[in-house]
């Protein structure tokens, strides 16, 4: 290699670690925007529908503003998603060389959804003025389908990495045959895909609701804010119990099909019956330290009986065990904990609504909602840590180790550093821009009363700006 950077010792420290950190960081960044891409259109269309059919100018104004927010988040998501496509090849060329023809099946299908999404998103976002209300609403509807379809095809690829099937390898490890249907509909697709789609709706709902909760805490208690909180919050809270059931099924499937991951998540060292479920704590080779143990519960959750045998890490040679056990365990507990809290929150809101036909009016309710957006994002990340770190040391469970997939190219630490700087700037600017937009809207008041949507054409000449 003639590149001089590579001669420095830091570059040789560990390509694998740098590549994994870069992938984790860029994925964590992108996944939040993906959630908005999948679920924001649905929330916007609810407001749009209400505004259109019930002549509700507050709802219409919300839809209009949200669509402008989506224009920004979609742009950032489109470019960070492109980076991931590059990273597959730049960081994991061996993986792509061997399995590109397998995982490509999902990505090829996703291509159609992404294309259609980009097109109709543009028509919807930039069609407020000149399209009729009906036509405009319907140009948004394809976005519901593209969100679901896109999420399906991408998450199916991740499911395949966890439970690979539908391909034939020759003696040299080359893929000689593929079965696209089996690849897409692998056993993990059934729970990973719904789990992620529901997560997208909950994260988006909570993020949007939290913005309006903060506004209400600052004293802006008008109908605009109430509606802005209520529409997304209802979506998120209604789906929280469903998500809990899907997640519970997923955990049992993981215990069955990826026992090493499950043992890592639950800090189980010795295979056996009557396993204790630990909440929190540190995982050590002599057991969990500092957690709350509930005897027998882990076995019960896996097989509905405390007598269920659960595989421990001792069943696997050390080189096949997932790393960072405590991280895995805490990430899993955090996800379940926040998921449970959302269900409790939903019960509270439902109860108050049933009694008073209103959301809870206490400051504490608004304070809780205002942190729910961040909590939902952290939960999303925790879930992906469980999935991805839990699958290590494999990139394709049982077939290819992550260490064998990574690029031999030098300088990945530098590329990680560049990515950290670039994405920090990107994220900070995006948040600043969104805050400026909000402030501009606050200062200017509702646009419905000035330049209205669906108004007759306003002639704009290129020089008029």
């Amino acid at each position: 290699m003639s590149i001089s950077l590579g001669a420095l010792p830091i570059a040789e420290a560990s390509n694998l670690l740098a590549a994994r950190e870069q992938m984790a960081f860029t994925l964590a960044f992108h996944i939040v925007l993906s959630c908005l891409g999948v679920a924001f259109p649905a929330i916007i269309l609810i407001a749009n529908y209400k505004g259109w059919r019930q002549n509700d100018s507050d709802a219409m104004e919300l839809a209009r503003r949200w669509s402008k927010v989506m224009a920004v988040t979609f742009a950032v998501g489109a470019v960070t998603g492109t980076v991931l496509s590059f990273e597959f090849g730049l960081l994991w060329p061996e993986f792509m060389k061997r399995f590109g023809s397998v995982i490509g099946v999902g990505f090829a299908i996703e291509g159609i959804f992404f294309f259609t999404e980009a097109i109709f998103l543009a028509i919807y976002i930039y069609g407020w003025k000149r399209l009729s209300p009906k036509a405009h609403f319907w140009t948004g509807v394809p976005l519901l389908i593209t969100g679901l379809g896109g999420a399906f095809s991408i998450v199916a690829v991740n499911s395949w990495m966890n439970q690979p099937q539908g391909f034939t390898l020759d003696a040299a490890g080359k893929v000689t045959d593929t079965d696209p249907v089996k690849i897409l509909l692998n056993p993990a697709t059934g729970y990973e895909v719904p789990h992620m789609i529901l997560a997208a709706y909950i994260v988006t709902g909570m993020l949007v609701a939290s913005v309006y909760a903060v506004g209400m805490l600052k004293g802006r208690r008008d109908r605009h804010h109430r509606l802005g909180l209520l529409i997304p919050l209802t979506v998120a809270l209604a789906l929280a119990p469903v998500q809990f059931m899907v997640g519970d099924t997923a955990a049992r499937e993981v215990a069955d099909k990826q026992p090493a991951k499950f043992a890592g998540m639950e800090c189980i060292h010795k295979t056996g019956r009557d396993q204790t479920e630990y909440l929190g704590g540190r995982c050590t080779s002599t057991g969990v330290k500092g957690g709350i143990g509930i005897p027998g519960l882990d076995s019960f959750l896996v097989g509905f009986s405390t007598n269920t045998k659960v595989t421990g890490l001792d069943a696997f040679p050390p080189k096949n065990r997932p790393p960072a056990n405590t991280l895995l365990h805490l990430a899993f507990d955090f996800m379940v904990g926040v998921g449970s809290a959302f269900i409790a929150l939903g019960a509270w809101v439902a109860f108050v609504w049933w009694r008073k036909r209103d959301i809870p009016r206490t400051v504490w309710f608004l304070r809780i909602i205002s942190v729910c957006g961040v909590a939902a994002v952290l939960t999303l990340w925790a879930g992906w840590i469980v999935t991805e770190v839990g699958r290590q040391p494999w990139i394709v469970q049982g077939y290819m180790r992550t260490a064998d997939a990574v690029t031999p190219a030098n300088g990945i630490w530098y590329s990680l550093a560049i990515v950290l700087v670039l994405y920090t700037a990107l994220g900070t600017t995006a948040i600043l821009v969104l805050r400026r937009m909000a402030r501009r809207w606050r200062e200017r008041g509702p646009e419905v009363e000035q330049g209205t949507p669906y108004a007759p054409p306003v002639e704009t000449v290129s020089g008029a700006r």
């Binding site: 060329p93 399995f99 590109g100 980009a118």
Partner: protein
Amino acid sequence: MSEADIAAGILWFGATAYALFGGADFGGGFWDLLAGDAATGERPRALIQRSLTPVWEANHVWLIFILVVLWTSFPKAFAAIMSTLYIPLALAAVGIVLRGAGFAFRKEIEGLAGRRAAGATFALSSVLTPFFMGAVVGAIATGGVPASGDGDPISSWVGPAPLFFGVVFVATGAYLAAVLLIGDAARSGAKDMERYFARRAIIASVGAGVAAAAGLVDLHANGRYVYDRLTSEALPLVILSALCGLAVLLLLIRIKHRWIRPLAGATAVSVIWGWGVAQFPYLLPTSLKINEAAAPDPTLTTVLVVFLAAAVIVLPSLALLYTLSQRDVVGEVDR
């Protein structure tokens, strides 16, 4: 024709669409960069922004399409390209982030300083990104990427032909953008802007032609396989491209703007397919043939089916978007 050849054709189709539409978007950034200070550049920048806003993300998807079709249908070639040309590719990826973010943020940022920073980010990265993409294509054409991958990360692309191809990419994008903007200016009745972009289209077309000729000279020495076929099997397409380019140039000089869009498009399309013909049957001249790199048949069939589905679903939707955008039904909304 084998299924692998069809997949390669699909790949080239994607490359053509990206070069035309994505290329024009990068070209818009190029003219934005050169539009001068805030006062002089205001009107051309406004026209560029209006023309790009509703379509650039959809146009950008063609790049994803290319990457996915490449790694799905020809995983070995994808890995070889990525593991050799990681420097220009990583720089192009950085450019893509900066270009998209800069463009999206500029519209929403208030205050001249912030807008200027976002605008400069958008414009500068609009020039660097296609340059590195052109260098990647040039490196492939000159045989810089070995089939086994892990080729030399520097000498594979730092050479006259790849760098000239980088310039060709930038200039072609600028050319396509200027031609497109002539029509957009005409539609909004801005006669001076029409002349403004007509002048620039002439300069860009000459620039692209000169850089392409220079690249060809270096191909003669360092990319003999592609050079020989460009001057034999692919010669008709090269001549067609040159003729279309000349026709556009004449029309521009005589201020007749009626057929310039399709003709300018044909200039780019015929040269891209000329390159494809010149490379055939190699994906990486001269170390990896299309059929050697191909994925198993069921995967290739999936790519084909997906492509047909895209032709039914995506192409009409794209046509709808372009039509609505050209009729100003979708356009920038008030901030």
